[in-house]
């Protein structure tokens, strides 16, 4: 399994992903603190971290868990926040076509934005299945490890941090840190502005449905803006 071509793939994947992975650290710590701040025990927080392993879905569902929102809304919210992975999964599927089913399931659990962003082209271009497996597995496991360690730092450090410092706002900052770079194209910016404002103005709807309405309005607005300005909205 760990032959030369696996090792070469692993080295290349790891080297390419390493700089980006450092950016995960503040995130992971914040996610850890945020999970504790809504009242999850350390065990529950680390359990969520292992089961969900998706920072955005974790941070995004926490406020809803805190107010006791219904299960279907939690799942729907997590699904929407994870929807981008459907696109990544569709794009990356050919790179896993020759892998065994357990390997494909395990890889799916491990797939994160950063690895997709940095390595998808190389993974799709490579013919050698063992090289590809190394190139995906090494950075993905590194990311998983880094995430678990620094979330644990947040989870266990949260008790030391003072209560009245508005630290729950760190989760909102983390969401913005992901959102801002996405808005580099005009249709994406339109989707975000409409999605945010529509949610604010639809807040009177029961069961936090305003958020679903806002997201649908944002998607529609982004799609309309793209149509309206032709194809120039594609990232360069």
């Amino acid at each position: 399994m760990f032959d030369d071509s696996f090792k070469r793939g692993a080295a290349e994947g790891f080297r390419a992903f390493l700089p980006l992975s450092v950016g995960l650290i503040p995130w992971a710590v914040v996610t850890g603190v945020a999970m504790r701040s809504i009242g999850l025990s350390p065990l529950e927080a680390m359990g969520m971290n292992l089961l969900v392993y998706a920072g955005t879905a974790q941070l995004g569902t926490l406020p809803l868990i805190a107010v006791g929102a219904p299960l279907w809304l939690l799942v729907l919210t997590a699904l929407v926040l994870n929807l981008r992975f459907v696109i990544f999964s569709a794009a990356l599927a050919p790179a896993f076509a020759d892998a065994s089913r357990p390997r494909r399931v395990f890889s799916s659990y491990l797939l994160v934005d950063g690895v997709f962003a940095v390595l998808s082209e190389r993974l799709l271009r490579a013919d050698d299945a063992r090289w590809r497996w190394g190139c995906f597995l090494a950075p993905s496991l590194w990311c998983w490890l880094l995430w678990q360690i620094f979330t644990a730092v947040g989870v266990f450090g949260a008790g030391i941090l003072p209560r009245d410092w508005s630290l729950e706002f760190m989760a909102t900052i983390a969401l913005m840190v992901m959102l801002v770079p996405m808005c580099a194209t005009r249709p994406m910016l339109v989707a975000a502005l409409v999605g945010g404002l529509a949610t604010v103005f639809a807040r009177g709807l029961p069961l936090k449905l305003g958020m679903i309405v806002g997201i649908l309005a944002g998607i529609a607005a982004g799609f309309a803006a793209e149509r309206w300005q032709g194809n120039s909205g594609r990232p360069a």
Partner: protein, 108 residues
């Protein structure tokens, strides 16, 4: 907040969306494809969803629309930190510094 068994069930249900979305095309392993217009529309889902989570927190105070509040000032600093600088810690440090300064320092 739900407790015990129900909380764990909730967490597992949220977790199922991770594997469902990430595995949607990798696990079937066939050359399945999303219809192109749907795929294009779905690209806007993450941005719309993130904004839907952020906007109420920074634009509302006590359930009402309130454009002049410390969180919005902090959010503007976060956006500037994200767009002008590459340091991954800066948005957190800058945003929290502004929020705490306005809340603790000025009592807003």
């Amino acid at each position: 907040m739900s407790q015990g068994f129900w909380l764990w069930l909730t967490l597992a249900a949220i977790g199922s969306t991770t594997i469902l979305t990430r595995g949607s095309f990798i696990i079937p392993g066939e050359r399945a494809r999303l219809p192109a217009p749907l795929q294009r529309a779905l690209r806007y889902a993450p941005a719309a969803a993130l904004a839907a989570l952020v906007a109420p927190d920074v634009l509302l105070a006590d359930g009402g629309f309130e454009p002049f509040n410390p969180k919005l000032a902090a959010a503007i600093v976060v956006i500037l930190a994200c767009t002008r600088f590459r340091n991954p810690w800066l948005p957190f440090i800058g945003g929290m510094a502004v929020l705490l300064l306005l809340r603790k320092g000025l009592g807003l």
